[in-house]
């Protein structure tokens, strides 16, 4: 699949933002007043920035508001609604701690759940697609949730929690990669795509068009798969191992926190890039790819 920068940024940043907001709403760290303002500001900036980046990805953004209408069937619609509702409920909690120094625990708990639910709906947009077997796996939602929770804990200054979550995430990620490689295109082949398997092996003789098109650009992306192994190592080391090690083994300071967060972000972006670039769509089979 085409790794569109706007979508990679969106899913990474908004995930981090919702993760941070979830921890803040649970009182981790138990900040109030100005400090709380800064924390919530960062959380909102990431979450809202991510959402805006995803609107940039639309070819016809003037109809974006209509995306709130189809929550009955569409995970993308549910994501939009959940994000707005979550951000509103978080605001109630944030106003409490920032301006009044009161912690509305029940509101906070609901807000935290809504943040995580939003991340889950994002994950489900990918998980639901049978056409992309690598995404169509039970591992996708926990991976998205652990990214949000682990990265959010890093931002929220919760070293132990962050380290544990990132280590679990690292193992799950490695497992998902291996399983994804095994799964391939989940039994779809050029033979099943064309129905010509009864005659024999099928290969493409001529493409239907000589130039590029939307389908090839979007669904038959192949650049950079050969670097997959390197990028996986980068993701594991920078994204999870290094920040976890820093959090557990080095005395926590602002400097170590900044290094850990920067490494985590770089690693996660590499991993998210791979999430798209490595994912094969069954319709590319029609082009013999």
């Amino acid at each position: 699949m085409h790794p569109a920068p706007s979508v990679i940024l969106f899913s990474t940043l908004s995930g981090l933002g919702f993760g941070l907001l979830a921890w803040l709403c649970l009182g981790l760290p138990p900040v109030t007043g100005q400090v709380a303002f800064v924390f919530f500001f960062i959380g909102y900036a990431l979450a809202v920035g991510g959402l805006l980046a995803s609107v940039l990805h639309l070819a016809n953004p003037k109809n974006a508001v209509k995306a709130f209408s189809q929550w009955r069937s569409s995970w993308l619609s549910r994501e939009g609604i959940s994000a707005i509702v979550a951000l509103l409920v978080v605001a109630v909690f944030a106003i409490g701690v920032i301006f009044f120094g009161v912690r509305l625990r029940a509101v906070g708990a609901v807000a935290a759940l809504l943040c995580l639910w939003t991340v889950f709906t994002t994950a489900m947009i990918y998980t639901q697609l049978k056409t992309v077997p690598r995404w169509n796996s039970w591992t996708t939602p926990p991976i998205f949730l652990l990214h949000a929770l682990g990265g959010g804990a890093l931002l929220a200054g919760q070293p132990r929690l962050a380290a544990i979550l990132l280590i679990v995430l690292g193992f799950l990620m490695a497992w998902a990669w291996i399983k994804g490689d095994e799964k391939g295109r989940a039994g779809s082949t050029m033979e099943s795509a064309t129905g010509l398997g009864a005659i024999g092996k099928v290969r493409q003789l001529e493409a239907p068009h000589t130039g590029e098109n939307y389908l090839l650009r979007e669904m038959a992306y192949r650049v950079g798969r050969k670097h997959a192994l390197k990028l996986r190592v980068i993701t594991l080391v920078l994204g999870y191992a290094l920040p976890a090690a820093l959090m557990l083994l080095v005395p926590v300071s602002h400097l170590t926190a900044v290094i850990a967060i920067a490494a985590h972000l770089a690693g996660v972006l590499a991993g998210r890039w791979l999430f798209f670039a490595e994912a094969e769509h069954v319709q590319a089979l029609y082009y013999g790819r």
Partner: protein, 243 residues
């Protein structure tokens, strides 16, 4: 509404005969012509006279080679457009309600006034049947020429999809696949019509008729004729023997 109808009684669709298609791409051209000038936004071209022309199409013809274990391989031309699936994943993923499946005849359409161009429906389609138009920013797909088939302003013989009307080989058939007595349903039954990628669970309405197996030269050749000549040839034969 992007929830799917429980089931539709009428299932309009195409039956494509892979045995007959000669790969002339006439259906591609006629589809583009009809659909760029009628329903919805035009099908744009990008860099049409330049070095890298490309454009939006609702129907494309692939060409494959099927290679049996022994013997000659078979060339198969393979037109592909939306299959108007009964369990259309492209419809349920749509967040805006732009994509829908009609209850009355099962046609899957995009309401362009609602589409935000997110492209998710194209991701959900296993067949590559939806293309985002780069100029208009909305999703384009086969409409089964919904503006022809019910159109009382055009002669009756034209009230079929443009591709069907155009195909010079007669490789494309249009009808109600929900009615077992229809010509298309009978054709499918007779020729063993098949679904593409049935493992995706989309239950496509359009069916493909498999190419017939080709003869082998050794089986197909005529027996050599041995006949004793008569008349002039008998005389020639004899004369030649004597020389």
């Amino acid at each position: 509404m992007t929830t799917l109808p429980e089931s539709t009684e009428t299932k309009l669709g195409l039956v494509i005969d892979l045995d007959t298609c000669v790969g002339c791409h006439a259906c591609v051209v006629s589809c583009k012509e009809w659909n760029t000038s009628n329903y919805g936004a035009p099908l744009s071209d990008i860099d049409p006279y330049g070095a890298e022309p490309e454009g939006t199409f609702l129907n494309r013809v692939h060409s494959y080679e099927a290679m049996p274990e022994t013997g000659c391989s078979q060339t198969v031309h393979f037109p592909k457009s939306c299959l108007h699936c009964e369990d259309a994943p492209c419809v349920t993923v749509c967040p805006t309600g732009a994509s829908y499946k009609r209850e009355e005849d099962g046609i899957v359409l995009v309401n362009e006034a609602d589409c935000m161009g997110c492209g998710l429906c194209a991701w959900a389609c296993p067949y590559g049947a939806r293309e985002l138009d780069m100029l208009s920013g909305v999703m384009k797909k086969c409409t089964l020429c919904v503006d022809r088939i019910y159109n009382e302003n055009i002669p009756e013989e034209d009230r079929v999809p443009s591709c069907v009307r155009t195909c010079p080989a007669g490789a494309r058939h249009f009808g109600d696949l929900g009615d077992p007595e229809s010509d298309v349903s009978k054709l499918v039954a007779e020729r063993g019509g098949m679904d593409l990628m049935p493992e995706q669970g989309t239950k496509p309405v359009n069916k493909y008729l498999p190419p017939r197996l080709k003869d082998r030269p050794s089986e197909a050749a005529l027996e050599p004729r041995h006949e004793d000549p008569s008349g002039l040839f008998a005389w020639l034969d004899k004369a030649l023997e004597k020389i």
